[in-house]
Amino acid sequence: MPEIAIRTQKLTRRFGNLTAVDGIDLQVTAGQFFGFLGPNGAGKSTTIKMLTGLLAPTAGSMELLGLDFAAHPVEVKRQIGVVPEGMGLFERLTGAEYLQFVGRMYGLDRTTTQRRSNELLEFMQLADRPKTMIADYSHGMQKKLALAAAVIHGPRILFLDEPFEGVDALAAGALKALMARMTERGTTIFLTSHVLEIVERLCSHVAIIHKGRLVAQGSLDELRAGISGEEGSKTTLEQIFLSIVGQDGTERPQLEELSWLM
């Protein structure tokens, strides 16, 4: 039986009267490239924050690599890497200093940290600015550095919140290749992105969250199979997404309502 990397049970998060995440049951097998989709405000980032320890759930439980997060937060965090929303960088360090800081925070020895830091900076094409502070990096460079920091300790699960936003095509290609290689070697990648083409190309499995509830989960083929009609097998992820999220008719304003704009 395959190892379960992420399992949530009735995971819930409320902010006052608003239930941002409403009792979701997620299950991600180790080594999967998992896409987590949803419209704006659906609860994607809140879920990632809970799964990475940045936000406490109001109810429910989470297990990562078989460990209960609430009971073993440090052990869990040692095995995961995160690129959070906003990236979480210390902007007054240089890229190399930040990677060395993160490496040491994850308990790597100095030599290993130094070596991996140099290799990652080279890979991310950030090595030509050794004295530039992160505050002076462009958005794309900051994103690449956040990715480097997330993998420096060789995590078994990688959480990526919009990882390709602002990253140039060249670097994005290299990153995708790196991620594909990581999943081949057993790393689980949990990714959110609004670019459905990327998710469709990279991810083997997908879950869709809508208004805080998990409305679909499975492999792309399983989701396609759920689409009725003979065109089901040719359906793109975008069509699946729209058919699931927009099925109550409230999500896509009719263009006729904006007649004053045309």
């Binding site: 965090k77 210390f90 800081f101 040491r104 004053w260 704009l261 045309m262």
Partner: protein
């Protein structure tokens, strides 16, 4: 064809901006921490109102006296007071300003003239401007009561003076904004600013020593001041009462000339902003010359006794300290103040008056002052972390390690500062008796460790983001300030009573013994608190992340 937005009148746009600022303030009060700040704001507002009203009477009385006693030219001194306040106070108080970027309005369909007028109106909605206008009105009433015939000229001169001041204030603000748009310039400016503020402390001893010699030099330059706007306003009004129309015309025309020139300069600045002046500080892309990364191997780890996590936090804190011009500068201030106070209140320096404070009292007093200054930032110790705070919560560590690293860095800095100050004191004033020296040093351990525990708690509960080298919107949480103030008064009071107990009981070693007991209790309390604080950090992480990542 899509509908196109209709043009909006300037008055309507000013109303919209005022409404926007009000809504920003109102919405910010929805948060509990900000409501606590409001209490502080109301208190500050009440005190400011008392000050403004009190000075209104003073300006009224001054103007009345000058005109009724035949000395109308002296009203220039009142104009000078208002002018200096209006131009200097906004720069000094920039840190307390609302964090609203006036330039963001440029995204809306405003004409350049509307942008200019809104900019001026925005300048009038400032505390310095409002207070100054109140004082100018009081002056006008005072002058009119003394000499009713002066009213038309007074109204004209005061209106010109108001316009000139608001234009100049906006011009200075606009140039400063341009100058400070780059981070490095901003930090240098802030460092120079703080240094000049500290240097002002040396003014009294300087005047005591060189005042008499500087007086003739100052008097030689005085006539040139007559051609500056406040003097011109006073001279114009004096000319009216002395029935010298030519003098009035010359002075008021020169005042108008100033206004026109300043307006033209401000128009140029606003026009540049309107055209989309780029003030971004993002570094320009490098040329395609790839430099190899610095690969020098780091030497032996000087922090090898610490866990990797604590050592990493200490290193990061050190790097942040050396890159934060403002905080770095605060380290220079305590030794400077030791030098300053020793020239005024203690020792045998020629500037010390006859009632010099003995080293027995001066030494503990100076140490208390140093701790007061150096400990203040610890009550909001995550202020400069920004989004980096998330790293602490994502990494596999307990938060006690973060506190240990941060506190270790703070204690190292404090130790360095105290040793440096001790050296200065020993050379300039002399050291106190051995029992007092020991008692003070142990008292430092008690107060510092005691404060660190409370400061850690305060940092978790009342975090407020501060940015490197920025002046606007850089305000600590009111509650953190209150806690720091209360703790320092409490611990300072306890320490003072214990220090004096040696004198009262006739046992000079009693304070040292009492402080040794308290210091041991404080150290034990500190280590006992770390786990509780780590749990609290876990509970408060959302507040922390929200406050620091915005």
């Amino acid at each position: 064809m899509a509908d196109v937005a209709q043009s909006v009148g300037i008055l309507e746009q000013i109303r919209l901006v005022a409404g926007l600022r009000w809504r920003i303030l109102r919405n910010s009060l929805r948060k509990k921490n900000n409501r606590l700040d409001l209490i502080g704001l109301i208190l500050a507002g009440a005190l400011s109102s008392i000050l403004v009203l009190g000075l209104c009477f003073a300006f009224y009385a001054g103007a009345y006296a000058f005109f009724s006693k035949g000395r109308p030219g002296w009203i220039a001194s009142l104009f000078w007071g208002i002018f200096l306040f209006w131009q200097i106070f906004p720069v000094l108080m920039a840190g307390f300003g609302a964090s609203f970027e006036f330039r963001t309005l440029l995204r809306f369909p405003l004409s350049l003239s509307a942008f200019y007028v809104i900019g001026l109106a925005y300048g009038l909605a400032d505390f310095a401007a409002l207070a100054s206008v109140c004082w100018l009105i009081s002056m006008t009433i005072g002058a009119t009561v003394a000499k009713p015939g002066v009213l038309p000229a007074m109204l004209m001169i005061v209106a010109t003076f108001v316009l000139l001041n608001v234009t100049l204030e906006r011009l200075i603000g606009s140039w400063l904004e341009r100058l400070l748009s780059r981070r490095r310039t901003r930090e240098i400016f802030l460092a120079l600013f703080v240094l000049s503020m500290v240097s002002l402390q040396f003014l009294t001893p300087f005047l005591n020593r060189y005042g008499a010699a500087a007086r003739p030099v100052f008097l030689r330059f005085l006539p040139y001041f007559a051609w500056l706007p406040p003097s011109l306003a006073g001279r114009a009004l004096a000319a009216v009462t002395q029935l010298r129309p030519a003098g009035f015309l010359l002075s008021s025309a020169t005042l108008l000339f100033y206004l026109v020139v300043l307006s033209a300069l401000l128009w140029r600045r606003f026009a540049a902003q309107y055209r989309g002046e780029e003030l971004s500080e993002t570094a320009a892309p490098l040329r395609a010359v790839v430099r190899p990364a610095a690969k020098k191997a780091e030497g032996a780890d000087g922090l090898s006794l610490l866990s990797p996590q604590v050592a990493a936090v200490v290193r990061k804190e050190f790097r942040y300290l050396t890159r934060n011009g403002f905080v770095f500068l605060t380290l220079l201030v305590p030794p400077m103040l030791v030098v300053l106070f020793s020239t005024q209140f203690a020792g045998k320096h020629p500037t010390v008056s006859g009632k010099a404070v003995s080293a027995e009292m001066f030494f503990p007093g100076m140490m208390a002052y140093l701790i007061l200054i150096l400990m203040a930032p610890a009550y909001n110790s995550f202020a400069y972390e920004g989004r980096g705070i998330q790293t602490y919560f994502m990494a596999p560590l307990r938060f006690r390690e973060v506190f240990l690293g941060k506190n270790l860095m703070l204690v190292s800095v404090l130790t360095l500062e105290i040793v440096l100050s001790l050296g200065i004191l020993a050379s300039r004033v002399g050291l106190p008796s051995l029992p007092m020296l020991v008692a003070t040093l142990v008292a430092i351990i008690f107060t510092v460790v005691g404060q660190i525990t409370i400061a850690n708690w305060s940092s978790l509960n009342f975090p407020r983001k501060l940015e490197f080298g920025r002046m606007r919107g850089q305000r600590q949480s009111g509650m953190a300030v209150l806690i720091a103030f209360g703790t320092q008064i409490l611990l300072g009071g306890i320490s003072a009573v214990i220090l004096f107990s040696g004198r009262w009981t006739g046992n000079p070693w009693l304070p040292a013994e009492a402080f040794a007991f308290l210091a041991a209790a404080a150290v034990a309390g500190y280590f006992a608190s770390l786990d509780h604080l780590a749990q609290l950090a876990e509970k408060k992480k959302e507040t922390l992340i929200e406050a620091l990542c915005r």
